[in-house]
Protein backbone atom coordinates (compact mmCIF):
# COMPACT_ATOMS: atom_id res chain seq x y z
CA UNK A 1 0.00 0.00 0.00
CA UNK A 2 1.42 3.29 -0.97
CA UNK A 3 1.83 6.04 1.53
CA UNK A 4 -0.37 8.39 -0.37
CA UNK A 5 -3.25 5.99 0.02
CA UNK A 6 -2.82 5.51 3.71
CA UNK A 7 -2.49 9.05 4.84
CA UNK A 8 -5.85 10.59 4.03
CA UNK A 9 -7.80 7.57 5.23
CA UNK A 10 -6.19 7.25 8.58
CA UNK A 11 -8.18 8.90 11.34
CA UNK A 12 -5.14 8.94 13.51
CA UNK A 13 -3.49 11.25 11.10
CA UNK A 14 -6.08 13.87 11.82
CA UNK A 15 -5.00 13.88 15.43
CA UNK A 16 -1.45 14.66 14.55
CA UNK A 17 -1.17 18.37 14.51
CA UNK A 18 2.37 19.00 13.36
CA UNK A 19 2.26 19.87 9.69
CA UNK A 20 4.79 18.17 7.46
CA UNK A 21 8.10 19.96 7.90
CA UNK A 22 8.32 23.22 6.01
CA UNK A 23 12.03 22.52 6.20
CA UNK A 24 12.45 22.72 2.48
CA UNK A 25 11.48 26.37 2.46
CA UNK A 26 14.06 26.98 5.16
CA UNK A 27 16.64 25.13 3.13
CA UNK A 28 15.94 27.28 0.11
CA UNK A 29 16.23 30.48 2.11
CA UNK A 30 19.41 29.23 3.71
CA UNK A 31 20.89 28.34 0.38
CA UNK A 32 19.93 31.65 -1.15
CA UNK A 33 21.44 33.63 1.70
CA UNK A 34 24.62 31.61 1.57
CA UNK A 35 24.80 32.09 -2.13
CA UNK A 36 24.33 35.85 -1.83
CA UNK A 37 26.92 35.94 0.91
CA UNK A 38 29.30 34.02 -1.31
CA UNK A 39 28.70 36.40 -4.15
CA UNK A 40 29.41 39.32 -1.83
CA UNK A 41 32.60 37.57 -0.78
CA UNK A 42 33.88 37.36 -4.30
CA UNK A 43 32.86 40.90 -5.28
CA UNK A 44 36.33 42.33 -4.73
CA UNK A 45 37.71 39.50 -6.79
CA UNK A 46 35.21 40.26 -9.51
CA UNK A 47 36.49 43.82 -9.49
CA UNK A 48 40.02 42.57 -9.73
CA UNK A 49 39.12 40.68 -12.87
CA UNK A 50 37.03 43.54 -14.17
CA UNK A 51 39.92 45.97 -13.70
CA UNK A 52 42.21 43.60 -15.52
CA UNK A 53 39.94 44.02 -18.54
CA UNK A 54 39.94 47.81 -18.44
CA UNK A 55 41.99 50.50 -20.11
CA UNK A 56 43.99 52.66 -17.69
CA UNK A 57 41.62 55.61 -17.90
CA UNK A 58 38.74 53.45 -16.81
CA UNK A 59 40.38 52.04 -13.73
CA UNK A 60 38.93 54.62 -11.40
CA UNK A 61 35.51 54.17 -12.83
CA UNK A 62 34.21 51.42 -10.62
CA UNK A 63 31.95 49.75 -13.09
CA UNK A 64 31.87 46.01 -12.89
CA UNK A 65 31.47 45.67 -16.63
CA UNK A 66 34.15 47.69 -18.42
CA UNK A 67 33.01 49.92 -21.24
CA UNK A 68 35.39 48.34 -23.64
CA UNK A 69 36.55 45.06 -22.16
CA UNK A 70 39.75 43.86 -23.76
CA UNK A 71 42.54 41.41 -23.13
CA UNK A 72 45.43 43.75 -23.91
CA UNK A 73 46.54 43.72 -20.31
CA UNK A 74 46.82 39.99 -20.35
CA UNK A 75 48.71 40.07 -23.60
CA UNK A 76 51.00 42.73 -22.19
CA UNK A 77 51.70 40.85 -19.00
CA UNK A 78 52.16 37.53 -20.72
CA UNK A 79 54.30 38.94 -23.45
CA UNK A 80 56.50 40.63 -20.92
CA UNK A 81 59.16 37.94 -20.77
CA UNK A 82 59.84 38.66 -17.14
CA UNK A 83 56.44 37.45 -16.13
CA UNK A 84 57.35 33.86 -16.98
CA UNK A 85 60.46 34.10 -14.89
CA UNK A 86 58.51 35.39 -11.96
CA UNK A 87 55.88 32.74 -12.36
CA UNK A 88 58.50 30.04 -12.60
CA UNK A 89 60.41 31.37 -9.60
CA UNK A 90 57.30 31.54 -7.52
CA UNK A 91 56.35 28.05 -8.59
CA UNK A 92 59.77 26.59 -7.82
CA UNK A 93 59.93 28.33 -4.48
CA UNK A 94 56.40 27.51 -3.44
CA UNK A 95 56.77 23.88 -4.46
CA UNK A 96 60.14 23.32 -2.83
CA UNK A 97 59.09 25.09 0.34
CA UNK A 98 55.91 23.08 0.44
CA UNK A 99 57.78 19.82 0.02
CA UNK A 100 60.26 20.82 2.69
CA UNK A 101 57.53 21.77 5.09
CA UNK A 102 55.65 18.60 4.45
CA UNK A 103 58.77 16.57 5.13
CA UNK A 104 60.32 18.41 8.01
CA UNK A 105 57.19 19.53 9.80
CA UNK A 106 55.91 16.01 9.73
CA UNK A 107 59.24 14.55 10.76
CA UNK A 108 59.36 16.83 13.77
CA UNK A 109 55.66 16.40 14.50
CA UNK A 110 56.08 12.66 14.26
CA UNK A 111 59.08 12.59 16.53
CA UNK A 112 57.42 14.78 19.12
CA UNK A 113 54.29 12.68 18.98
CA UNK A 114 55.60 9.15 18.82
CA UNK A 115 58.91 9.17 20.66
CA UNK A 116 59.41 9.47 24.38
CA UNK A 117 62.72 11.10 25.11
CA UNK A 118 64.09 13.61 27.57
CA UNK A 119 63.74 17.16 26.32
CA UNK A 120 60.72 16.37 24.24
CA UNK A 121 58.47 18.86 25.93
CA UNK A 122 61.08 21.59 25.82
CA UNK A 123 61.66 21.10 22.11
CA UNK A 124 57.93 21.25 21.48
CA UNK A 125 57.44 24.42 23.48
CA UNK A 126 60.49 26.01 21.90
CA UNK A 127 59.22 25.35 18.41
CA UNK A 128 55.73 26.50 19.30
CA UNK A 129 57.10 29.69 20.81
CA UNK A 130 58.48 30.73 17.44
CA UNK A 131 54.88 31.35 16.45
CA UNK A 132 55.02 34.35 18.71
CA UNK A 133 58.11 35.85 17.13
CA UNK A 134 57.07 38.50 14.66
CA UNK A 135 58.74 38.06 11.28
CA UNK A 136 59.42 41.77 11.21
CA UNK A 137 61.84 41.18 14.03
CA UNK A 138 63.88 38.77 11.97
CA UNK A 139 64.13 40.41 8.59
CA UNK A 140 67.26 42.43 9.27
CA UNK A 141 69.19 39.62 10.95
CA UNK A 142 68.13 37.33 8.12
CA UNK A 143 69.38 39.78 5.60
CA UNK A 144 72.73 40.14 7.29
CA UNK A 145 72.97 36.39 7.47
CA UNK A 146 72.11 35.92 3.80
CA UNK A 147 74.67 38.45 2.86
CA UNK A 148 77.32 36.80 4.97
CA UNK A 149 76.72 33.37 3.48
CA UNK A 150 76.14 34.60 -0.04
CA UNK A 151 72.49 33.63 -0.19
CA UNK A 152 71.34 36.93 -1.61
CA UNK A 153 69.55 36.70 -4.88
CA UNK A 154 69.32 32.91 -4.76
CA UNK A 155 66.39 30.57 -4.46
CA UNK A 156 67.81 29.30 -1.23
CA UNK A 157 67.92 32.82 0.11
CA UNK A 158 64.27 33.35 -0.71
CA UNK A 159 63.21 30.05 0.73
CA UNK A 160 65.23 29.44 3.83
CA UNK A 161 63.14 31.31 6.39
CA UNK A 162 60.06 29.27 5.54
CA UNK A 163 61.42 25.77 5.15
CA UNK A 164 59.92 24.70 8.44
CA UNK A 165 57.12 26.30 10.33
CA UNK A 166 55.91 25.92 13.84
CA UNK A 167 52.34 25.99 12.61
CA UNK A 168 52.97 22.99 10.36
CA UNK A 169 54.81 21.14 13.07
CA UNK A 170 51.99 21.71 15.50
CA UNK A 171 49.42 20.60 12.95
CA UNK A 172 51.37 17.48 12.02
CA UNK A 173 51.86 16.55 15.63
CA UNK A 174 48.11 16.62 16.02
CA UNK A 175 47.67 14.54 12.91
CA UNK A 176 50.07 11.88 14.06
CA UNK A 177 48.14 11.48 17.29
CA UNK A 178 45.53 9.74 15.16
CA UNK A 179 47.97 7.09 13.95
CA UNK A 180 47.76 4.12 16.30
CA UNK A 181 51.04 3.21 17.94
CA UNK A 182 50.44 -0.36 16.90
CA UNK A 183 51.19 0.50 13.31
CA UNK A 184 54.56 1.78 14.27
CA UNK A 185 55.39 -1.02 16.64
CA UNK A 186 54.33 -3.62 14.10
CA UNK A 187 56.77 -2.12 11.64
CA UNK A 188 59.48 -2.06 14.27
CA UNK A 189 59.00 -5.76 14.81
CA UNK A 190 59.07 -6.31 11.08
CA UNK A 191 62.56 -4.91 11.13
CA UNK A 192 62.22 -1.45 9.66
CA UNK A 193 64.39 1.27 11.05
CA UNK A 194 62.78 4.38 12.44
CA UNK A 195 63.32 6.41 9.30
CA UNK A 196 61.67 3.75 7.16
CA UNK A 197 58.80 3.48 9.60
CA UNK A 198 58.14 7.18 9.43
CA UNK A 199 58.32 7.30 5.68
CA UNK A 200 56.63 4.07 4.61
CA UNK A 201 54.16 3.60 7.43
CA UNK A 202 53.31 6.82 9.17
CA UNK A 203 53.39 9.24 6.27
CA UNK A 204 50.94 7.41 3.99
CA UNK A 205 48.52 7.23 6.88
CA UNK A 206 48.28 10.99 7.22
CA UNK A 207 47.94 11.80 3.55
CA UNK A 208 44.87 14.03 3.95
CA UNK A 209 46.70 15.94 6.62
CA UNK A 210 49.69 16.37 4.36
CA UNK A 211 47.41 17.69 1.66
CA UNK A 212 45.91 20.23 4.04
CA UNK A 213 49.32 21.33 5.21
CA UNK A 214 50.55 21.53 1.63
CA UNK A 215 47.74 23.87 0.66
CA UNK A 216 48.35 26.22 3.53
CA UNK A 217 52.10 26.33 2.97
CA UNK A 218 51.75 26.71 -0.76
CA UNK A 219 49.30 29.60 -0.39
CA UNK A 220 51.51 31.27 2.16
CA UNK A 221 54.58 31.15 -0.03
CA UNK A 222 52.82 31.97 -3.22
CA UNK A 223 51.73 35.32 -1.83
CA UNK A 224 54.82 36.12 0.27
CA UNK A 225 56.12 39.59 -0.46
CA UNK A 226 58.41 41.42 1.93
CA UNK A 227 61.16 38.87 2.30
CA UNK A 228 61.46 37.89 -1.38
CA UNK A 229 61.62 41.58 -2.16
CA UNK A 230 64.45 42.22 0.21
CA UNK A 231 66.52 39.22 -0.65
CA UNK A 232 66.32 39.35 -4.43
CA UNK A 233 68.44 41.67 -6.52
CA UNK A 234 67.86 40.80 -10.11
CA UNK A 235 64.62 40.95 -11.99
CA UNK A 236 65.10 37.34 -13.01
CA UNK A 237 64.94 36.27 -9.39
CA UNK A 238 61.78 38.14 -8.47
CA UNK A 239 58.82 36.18 -7.34
CA UNK A 240 55.42 36.92 -8.76
CA UNK A 241 54.21 39.34 -6.07
CA UNK A 242 57.48 41.27 -6.17
CA UNK A 243 57.41 41.35 -9.93
CA UNK A 244 53.82 42.50 -10.00
CA UNK A 245 54.57 45.40 -7.73
CA UNK A 246 57.21 46.57 -10.18
CA UNK A 247 54.44 47.33 -12.62
CA UNK A 248 54.11 50.45 -10.60
CA UNK A 249 56.67 53.23 -10.54
CA UNK A 250 57.43 56.48 -8.82
CA UNK A 251 54.81 58.37 -10.73
CA UNK A 252 52.08 55.91 -11.07
CA UNK A 253 50.84 52.47 -10.46
CA UNK A 254 49.59 50.48 -13.39
CA UNK A 255 46.55 49.07 -11.65
CA UNK A 256 45.16 47.30 -14.63
CA UNK A 257 48.42 45.40 -14.97
CA UNK A 258 48.73 44.61 -11.30
CA UNK A 259 45.17 43.34 -11.23
CA UNK A 260 45.87 41.30 -14.33
CA UNK A 261 48.93 39.76 -12.76
CA UNK A 262 47.05 39.14 -9.52
CA UNK A 263 44.28 37.45 -11.47
CA UNK A 264 46.71 35.23 -13.28
CA UNK A 265 48.57 34.39 -10.13
CA UNK A 266 45.35 33.24 -8.48
CA UNK A 267 44.99 30.47 -11.04
CA UNK A 268 47.58 28.07 -9.61
CA UNK A 269 46.28 28.48 -6.10
CA UNK A 270 42.81 27.83 -7.38
CA UNK A 271 43.96 24.67 -9.10
CA UNK A 272 45.78 23.49 -6.01
CA UNK A 273 42.69 24.19 -3.98
CA UNK A 274 40.38 22.38 -6.36
CA UNK A 275 42.60 19.33 -6.41
CA UNK A 276 43.08 19.10 -2.69
CA UNK A 277 39.97 20.67 -1.30
CA UNK A 278 38.30 17.45 -0.28
CA UNK A 279 41.33 16.66 1.83
CA UNK A 280 41.38 19.98 3.61
CA UNK A 281 38.38 19.31 5.75
CA UNK A 282 39.23 15.66 6.19
CA UNK A 283 42.75 16.65 7.15
CA UNK A 284 41.71 19.25 9.63
CA UNK A 285 39.14 16.90 11.11
CA UNK A 286 41.92 14.39 11.62
CA UNK A 287 43.94 16.89 13.56
CA UNK A 288 41.12 16.93 16.05
CA UNK A 289 42.44 20.34 17.06
CA UNK A 290 42.98 19.22 20.57
CA UNK A 291 45.00 22.29 21.20
Amino acid sequence: MAVTEIRPTTDALLKTDAPKKPANMGQIIRWTLLFLGGVAMVMPIAYMISTSLKWPHEVYNLKLIPDEPHLENYTYVLEDGRFYWWFLNSMIIAVITTVCNVIFDSLVGYTLCKFRFPGRYIVFIAILSTLMIPTEMLVIPWYLMSQQFGWLDTYWGIMFPGLMTAFGTFLMKQFFETVPDDFIEAARIDGLNELQIWWTVAMPLVKPALAALAIFVFLGNWTAFIWPLIVTNSVEMYTLPVGLSSFGDEADVAWELIMTGAAISTIPTLIVFLIFQRYIIQGVVMAGLKG
Binding site: M1, V3, I6, T10, A12, L13, K15, T16, A18
Partner: protein
Protein backbone atom coordinates in the same frame (compact mmCIF):
# COMPACT_ATOMS: atom_id res chain seq x y z
CA UNK B 1 -0.87 2.75 26.20
CA UNK B 2 2.50 2.10 24.77
CA UNK B 3 1.98 -0.61 22.28
CA UNK B 4 3.75 -0.18 19.00
CA UNK B 5 2.96 -1.37 15.56
CA UNK B 6 4.73 -1.10 12.29
CA UNK B 7 2.90 -1.92 9.11
CA UNK B 8 4.48 -2.62 5.81
CA UNK B 9 7.41 -0.42 6.55
CA UNK B 10 9.54 0.31 3.50
CA UNK B 11 12.66 2.42 3.51
CA UNK B 12 14.52 3.42 0.45
CA UNK B 13 17.71 5.46 0.21
CA UNK B 14 17.77 6.90 -3.26
CA UNK B 15 17.43 3.74 -5.25
CA UNK B 16 18.43 1.06 -2.76
CA UNK B 17 15.63 -0.35 -0.73
CA UNK B 18 16.92 -1.40 2.65
CA UNK B 19 13.63 -2.37 4.28
CA UNK B 20 11.20 -4.30 2.13
CA UNK B 21 7.93 -3.83 3.94
CA UNK B 22 8.17 -5.19 7.45
CA UNK B 23 5.32 -5.46 9.90
CA UNK B 24 5.34 -6.12 13.59
CA UNK B 25 3.13 -5.66 16.61
CA UNK B 26 4.67 -5.02 19.98
CA UNK B 27 2.59 -5.13 23.13
CA UNK B 28 2.72 -2.66 25.91
CA UNK B 29 5.61 -3.49 28.22
CA UNK B 30 7.17 -6.02 25.94
CA UNK B 31 10.93 -6.35 25.56
CA UNK B 32 11.58 -6.97 21.90
CA UNK B 33 15.06 -7.56 20.53
CA UNK B 34 15.96 -7.09 16.89
CA UNK B 35 18.85 -9.24 15.89
CA UNK B 36 20.53 -9.97 12.61
CA UNK B 37 23.79 -9.69 10.77
CA UNK B 38 25.40 -6.32 10.07
CA UNK B 39 23.62 -4.27 7.45
CA UNK B 40 20.32 -6.12 7.66
CA UNK B 41 18.35 -3.01 8.51
CA UNK B 42 18.01 -3.17 12.29
CA UNK B 43 19.24 0.35 12.95
CA UNK B 44 17.20 1.66 10.07
CA UNK B 45 14.04 0.21 11.55
CA UNK B 46 14.85 1.72 14.91
CA UNK B 47 15.57 5.10 13.40
CA UNK B 48 12.27 5.02 11.56
CA UNK B 49 10.47 4.29 14.79
CA UNK B 50 12.35 7.08 16.52
CA UNK B 51 11.52 9.48 13.74
CA UNK B 52 15.12 10.22 12.87
CA UNK B 53 14.35 9.20 9.31
CA UNK B 54 11.21 9.31 7.26
CA UNK B 55 9.54 6.09 6.23
CA UNK B 56 9.25 5.71 2.49
CA UNK B 57 6.06 3.73 2.86
CA UNK B 58 4.09 2.15 5.62
CA UNK B 59 2.87 3.23 9.00
CA UNK B 60 4.30 3.48 12.45
CA UNK B 61 1.76 3.48 15.25
CA UNK B 62 2.68 4.20 18.85
CA UNK B 63 0.01 3.99 21.49
CA UNK B 64 -2.66 3.98 18.82
CA UNK B 65 -1.44 7.13 17.09
CA UNK B 66 0.08 7.13 13.66
CA UNK B 67 3.32 8.94 14.27
CA UNK B 68 4.80 9.01 10.79
CA UNK B 69 4.62 12.75 10.62
CA UNK B 70 5.48 13.53 14.21
CA UNK B 71 8.81 14.89 15.30
CA UNK B 72 10.87 12.49 17.43
CA UNK B 73 10.17 14.49 20.54
CA UNK B 74 6.42 14.08 20.09
CA UNK B 75 6.54 10.33 19.68
CA UNK B 76 6.91 9.58 23.35
CA UNK B 77 10.06 7.54 22.82
CA UNK B 78 13.60 7.69 24.09
CA UNK B 79 16.68 6.25 22.51
CA UNK B 80 20.04 5.00 23.72
CA UNK B 81 22.83 5.06 21.17
CA UNK B 82 25.71 2.72 20.60
CA UNK B 83 28.27 5.37 21.46
CA UNK B 84 25.96 6.58 24.25
CA UNK B 85 25.83 10.11 22.79
CA UNK B 86 26.39 11.56 26.21
CA UNK B 87 27.83 15.01 26.08
CA UNK B 88 31.43 15.11 27.22
CA UNK B 89 31.22 18.70 28.40
CA UNK B 90 28.29 18.23 30.73
CA UNK B 91 28.16 16.64 34.15
CA UNK B 92 26.21 13.48 34.63
CA UNK B 93 23.44 15.49 36.22
CA UNK B 94 23.18 17.78 33.24
CA UNK B 95 23.33 14.90 30.84
CA UNK B 96 20.52 13.11 32.54
CA UNK B 97 18.58 16.33 32.92
CA UNK B 98 18.95 17.09 29.23
CA UNK B 99 15.97 14.91 28.43
CA UNK B 100 13.82 17.07 30.69
CA UNK B 101 14.69 20.45 29.24
CA UNK B 102 11.47 20.77 27.34
CA UNK B 103 9.35 19.12 30.00
CA UNK B 104 6.77 21.31 31.65
CA UNK B 105 7.94 20.77 35.18
CA UNK B 106 9.19 23.00 37.91
CA UNK B 107 12.92 23.10 38.42
CA UNK B 108 12.59 21.34 41.73
CA UNK B 109 10.52 18.56 40.19
CA UNK B 110 13.14 18.10 37.52
CA UNK B 111 15.90 17.84 40.08
CA UNK B 112 13.86 15.36 42.03
CA UNK B 113 13.27 13.30 38.91
CA UNK B 114 16.98 13.29 38.08
CA UNK B 115 17.82 12.18 41.57
CA UNK B 116 15.23 9.46 41.38
CA UNK B 117 16.60 8.11 38.14
CA UNK B 118 20.16 8.35 39.40
CA UNK B 119 19.04 6.43 42.43
CA UNK B 120 17.49 3.68 40.36
CA UNK B 121 20.70 3.39 38.37
CA UNK B 122 22.90 3.61 41.45
CA UNK B 123 24.67 6.71 40.21
CA UNK B 124 23.77 9.19 42.89
CA UNK B 125 27.42 9.63 43.82
CA UNK B 126 28.46 10.26 40.28
CA UNK B 127 26.08 13.07 39.42
CA UNK B 128 28.73 15.77 39.62
CA UNK B 129 31.24 13.99 37.42
CA UNK B 130 32.05 14.55 33.79
CA UNK B 131 31.76 11.57 31.41
CA UNK B 132 35.54 11.41 30.99
CA UNK B 133 35.74 10.44 34.64
CA UNK B 134 33.40 7.50 34.18
CA UNK B 135 34.03 3.92 33.18
CA UNK B 136 32.38 2.44 30.11
CA UNK B 137 29.61 0.81 32.09
CA UNK B 138 28.89 3.99 33.99
CA UNK B 139 28.65 5.96 30.77
CA UNK B 140 26.20 3.43 29.47
CA UNK B 141 24.18 3.92 32.59
CA UNK B 142 24.15 7.66 32.10
CA UNK B 143 22.83 7.16 28.60
CA UNK B 144 20.08 4.97 29.93
CA UNK B 145 19.38 7.49 32.65
CA UNK B 146 18.91 10.21 30.10
CA UNK B 147 16.39 8.05 28.30
CA UNK B 148 14.61 7.00 31.51
CA UNK B 149 14.23 10.43 32.94
CA UNK B 150 11.55 11.29 30.42
CA UNK B 151 9.60 8.14 31.23
CA UNK B 152 8.79 7.46 27.60
CA UNK B 153 6.29 4.96 26.37
CA UNK B 154 8.92 3.18 24.34
CA UNK B 155 12.65 2.80 24.88
CA UNK B 156 14.80 2.25 21.83
CA UNK B 157 18.29 0.82 22.25
CA UNK B 158 20.71 0.60 19.31
CA UNK B 159 23.46 -1.87 20.17
CA UNK B 160 24.03 -0.15 23.47
CA UNK B 161 26.45 -2.76 24.75
CA UNK B 162 28.72 -3.35 21.83
CA UNK B 163 31.32 -0.86 22.98
CA UNK B 164 31.76 -2.62 26.28
CA UNK B 165 34.08 -5.47 27.04
CA UNK B 166 32.71 -8.96 27.52
CA UNK B 167 32.50 -8.90 31.28
CA UNK B 168 30.81 -5.55 31.43
CA UNK B 169 28.50 -6.52 28.66
CA UNK B 170 27.22 -9.46 30.65
CA UNK B 171 26.72 -7.30 33.67
CA UNK B 172 24.96 -4.46 31.82
CA UNK B 173 22.61 -6.78 30.04
CA UNK B 174 21.50 -8.10 33.37
CA UNK B 175 20.99 -4.57 34.63
CA UNK B 176 18.89 -3.58 31.66
CA UNK B 177 16.85 -6.69 32.04
CA UNK B 178 16.19 -5.92 35.68
CA UNK B 179 15.41 -2.35 34.88
CA UNK B 180 12.80 -3.51 32.45
CA UNK B 181 11.27 -5.77 34.99
CA UNK B 182 11.08 -2.81 37.34
CA UNK B 183 9.84 0.04 35.14
CA UNK B 184 7.89 -2.05 32.68
CA UNK B 185 8.11 0.25 29.65
CA UNK B 186 8.12 -1.14 26.17
CA UNK B 187 11.65 -1.72 24.95
CA UNK B 188 12.96 -2.23 21.45
CA UNK B 189 16.53 -3.38 21.62
CA UNK B 190 18.83 -3.83 18.64
CA UNK B 191 21.90 -6.03 18.69
CA UNK B 192 23.80 -8.33 16.45
CA UNK B 193 24.85 -10.55 19.29
CA UNK B 194 22.50 -13.49 19.55
CA UNK B 195 23.47 -14.20 23.14
CA UNK B 196 22.25 -10.76 24.08
CA UNK B 197 19.08 -11.37 22.14
CA UNK B 198 18.42 -14.72 23.75
CA UNK B 199 19.04 -13.62 27.29
CA UNK B 200 17.13 -10.36 27.24
CA UNK B 201 14.18 -10.66 24.93
CA UNK B 202 10.57 -11.40 25.58
CA UNK B 203 10.41 -11.77 21.85
CA UNK B 204 13.15 -11.84 19.28
CA UNK B 205 12.83 -10.44 15.80
CA UNK B 206 15.39 -11.94 13.47
CA UNK B 207 16.14 -9.89 10.40
CA UNK B 208 18.12 -10.48 7.27
CA UNK B 209 18.52 -8.22 4.26
CA UNK B 210 15.61 -5.99 5.16
CA UNK B 211 13.17 -8.84 5.76
CA UNK B 212 11.95 -10.28 9.02
CA UNK B 213 12.85 -13.95 9.16
CA UNK B 214 11.11 -14.94 12.34
CA UNK B 215 9.47 -13.42 15.35
CA UNK B 216 9.20 -15.43 18.52
CA UNK B 217 10.22 -15.99 22.09
CA UNK B 218 13.80 -17.04 22.68
CA UNK B 219 12.68 -20.59 23.24
CA UNK B 220 10.70 -20.59 20.02
CA UNK B 221 13.48 -19.30 17.83
CA UNK B 222 15.94 -21.65 19.46
CA UNK B 223 13.84 -24.75 19.41
CA UNK B 224 11.73 -24.05 16.35
CA UNK B 225 13.79 -21.96 13.97
CA UNK B 226 11.73 -21.00 10.94
CA UNK B 227 14.54 -21.56 8.49
CA UNK B 228 18.21 -22.41 8.17
CA UNK B 229 19.19 -18.79 8.53
CA UNK B 230 17.58 -18.48 11.93
CA UNK B 231 18.80 -21.90 12.93
CA UNK B 232 22.37 -21.00 12.05
CA UNK B 233 22.19 -17.55 13.54
CA UNK B 234 20.80 -18.44 16.94
CA UNK B 235 22.94 -20.54 19.22
CA UNK B 236 26.70 -20.67 19.57
CA UNK B 237 28.44 -22.58 18.27
CA UNK B 238 26.15 -22.71 15.27
CA UNK B 239 23.85 -25.53 14.46
CA UNK B 240 25.52 -28.21 12.32
CA UNK B 241 23.88 -28.66 8.94
CA UNK B 242 23.99 -32.07 7.31
CA UNK B 243 22.53 -32.79 3.96
CA UNK B 244 20.22 -35.69 3.45
CA UNK B 245 17.46 -36.95 1.25
CA UNK B 246 14.20 -38.73 1.62
CA UNK B 247 14.40 -42.36 0.73
CA UNK B 248 11.55 -44.81 1.23
CA UNK B 249 9.85 -42.48 3.66
CA UNK B 250 12.99 -42.30 5.72
CA UNK B 251 15.77 -39.85 5.87
CA UNK B 252 19.13 -40.89 4.47
CA UNK B 253 22.17 -39.04 5.71
CA UNK B 254 25.65 -38.74 4.20
CA UNK B 255 26.98 -41.13 6.80
CA UNK B 256 24.60 -43.74 5.40
CA UNK B 257 22.41 -43.79 8.46
CA UNK B 258 18.69 -43.97 7.79
CA UNK B 259 16.44 -42.17 10.24
CA UNK B 260 12.75 -42.70 10.59
CA UNK B 261 11.29 -39.33 11.40
CA UNK B 262 7.78 -40.13 10.41
CA UNK B 263 7.98 -37.61 7.60
CA UNK B 264 5.58 -37.71 4.78
CA UNK B 265 7.56 -36.39 1.89
CA UNK B 266 8.21 -37.02 -1.75
CA UNK B 267 10.79 -39.67 -2.45
CA UNK B 268 14.23 -38.25 -3.20
CA UNK B 269 13.48 -34.81 -1.89
CA UNK B 270 16.67 -33.07 -0.71
CA UNK B 271 16.58 -31.82 2.83
CA UNK B 272 18.96 -30.26 5.30
CA UNK B 273 19.22 -31.74 8.74
CA UNK B 274 20.21 -29.44 11.50
CA UNK B 275 21.58 -30.55 14.79
CA UNK B 276 22.93 -28.33 17.52
CA UNK B 277 26.40 -29.07 18.90
CA UNK B 278 24.98 -29.39 22.37
CA UNK B 279 22.65 -32.14 21.16
CA UNK B 280 25.40 -33.93 19.27
CA UNK B 281 27.82 -36.06 21.25
CA UNK B 282 29.95 -39.13 20.95
CA UNK B 283 27.81 -42.11 21.70
CA UNK B 284 26.20 -45.32 20.55
CA UNK B 285 22.94 -44.09 19.00
CA UNK B 286 22.36 -43.89 15.26
CA UNK B 287 25.54 -42.43 13.76
CA UNK B 288 24.79 -39.04 12.33
CA UNK B 289 28.43 -38.35 11.64
CA UNK B 290 31.56 -40.44 11.78
CA UNK B 291 35.06 -39.12 11.57
CA UNK B 292 38.26 -38.18 13.37
CA UNK B 293 38.46 -35.41 15.95
CA UNK B 294 40.42 -32.53 14.46
CA UNK B 295 40.43 -30.02 17.32
CA UNK B 296 39.43 -29.99 20.93
CA UNK B 297 38.33 -26.90 22.73
CA UNK B 298 38.05 -27.46 26.46
CA UNK B 299 35.54 -25.14 28.06
CA UNK B 300 36.01 -26.51 31.53
CA UNK B 301 32.87 -28.40 32.33
CA UNK B 302 32.60 -29.66 28.78
CA UNK B 303 34.73 -29.79 25.68
CA UNK B 304 33.87 -28.90 22.15
CA UNK B 305 35.16 -31.34 19.63
CA UNK B 306 35.45 -30.69 15.95
CA UNK B 307 34.94 -33.74 13.83
CA UNK B 308 35.83 -33.86 10.18
CA UNK B 309 33.45 -35.84 8.03
CA UNK B 310 32.55 -35.84 4.37
CA UNK B 311 34.41 -32.67 3.59
CA UNK B 312 32.77 -30.66 6.32
CA UNK B 313 33.42 -30.19 9.94
CA UNK B 314 30.83 -30.61 12.62
CA UNK B 315 30.98 -29.50 16.19
CA UNK B 316 29.86 -31.63 19.05
CA UNK B 317 30.01 -31.47 22.79
CA UNK B 318 31.81 -33.99 24.87
CA UNK B 319 32.32 -34.41 28.54
CA UNK B 320 34.75 -31.93 30.12
CA UNK B 321 36.87 -34.42 31.97
CA UNK B 322 37.41 -37.26 29.52
CA UNK B 323 36.99 -35.94 26.03
CA UNK B 324 38.24 -37.94 23.02
CA UNK B 325 41.77 -37.26 21.86
CA UNK B 326 42.57 -35.34 18.72
CA UNK B 327 42.77 -37.81 15.83
CA UNK B 328 40.57 -40.34 17.53
CA UNK B 329 37.76 -41.68 15.31
CA UNK B 330 34.36 -40.95 16.85
CA UNK B 331 30.75 -41.59 16.09
CA UNK B 332 28.41 -38.74 16.86
CA UNK B 333 24.80 -39.23 17.65
CA UNK B 334 21.81 -37.20 18.78
CA UNK B 335 18.30 -37.87 19.92
CA UNK B 336 15.94 -37.93 16.97
CA UNK B 337 13.63 -35.34 18.52
CA UNK B 338 16.44 -32.80 18.60
CA UNK B 339 16.90 -32.87 14.85
CA UNK B 340 15.65 -29.99 12.69
CA UNK B 341 14.62 -30.65 9.13
CA UNK B 342 14.72 -27.94 6.47
CA UNK B 343 13.96 -27.83 2.81
CA UNK B 344 17.35 -27.95 1.09
CA UNK B 345 16.29 -25.48 -1.58
CA UNK B 346 14.34 -22.81 0.32
CA UNK B 347 15.81 -23.39 3.76
CA UNK B 348 12.36 -23.30 5.34
CA UNK B 349 11.73 -25.55 8.29
CA UNK B 350 9.79 -28.69 7.53
CA UNK B 351 9.62 -29.77 11.10
Amino acid sequence: MADLAIRNLVKRYDKTEVLHGISLDVEDGEFVVFVGPSGCGKSTTLRLIAGLEDATQGEIVIGGRVVNNLEPKDRDIAMVFQNYAIYPHMTVRKNIGFGLRTAKMSKADKEARIDEVAGILGMTDLLARKPSQLSGGQRQRVAIGRAMVRDPAVFLFDEPLSNLDAQLRTQMRLEIKKLHQRVGNTIIFVTHDQVEAMTMADRIVIMKDGHIQQVGTPAEVYHKPANTFVAGFIGAPSMNMLSGSVSQGKLRLGSGTMLDLGLDMAEGRAVTVGVRPEDLHPGDGPALVRGPVTVREPLGHETLIYVGAEGQEVIAKADGRTPPEVGQEVTLTAAVETLHIFDAATGDALR
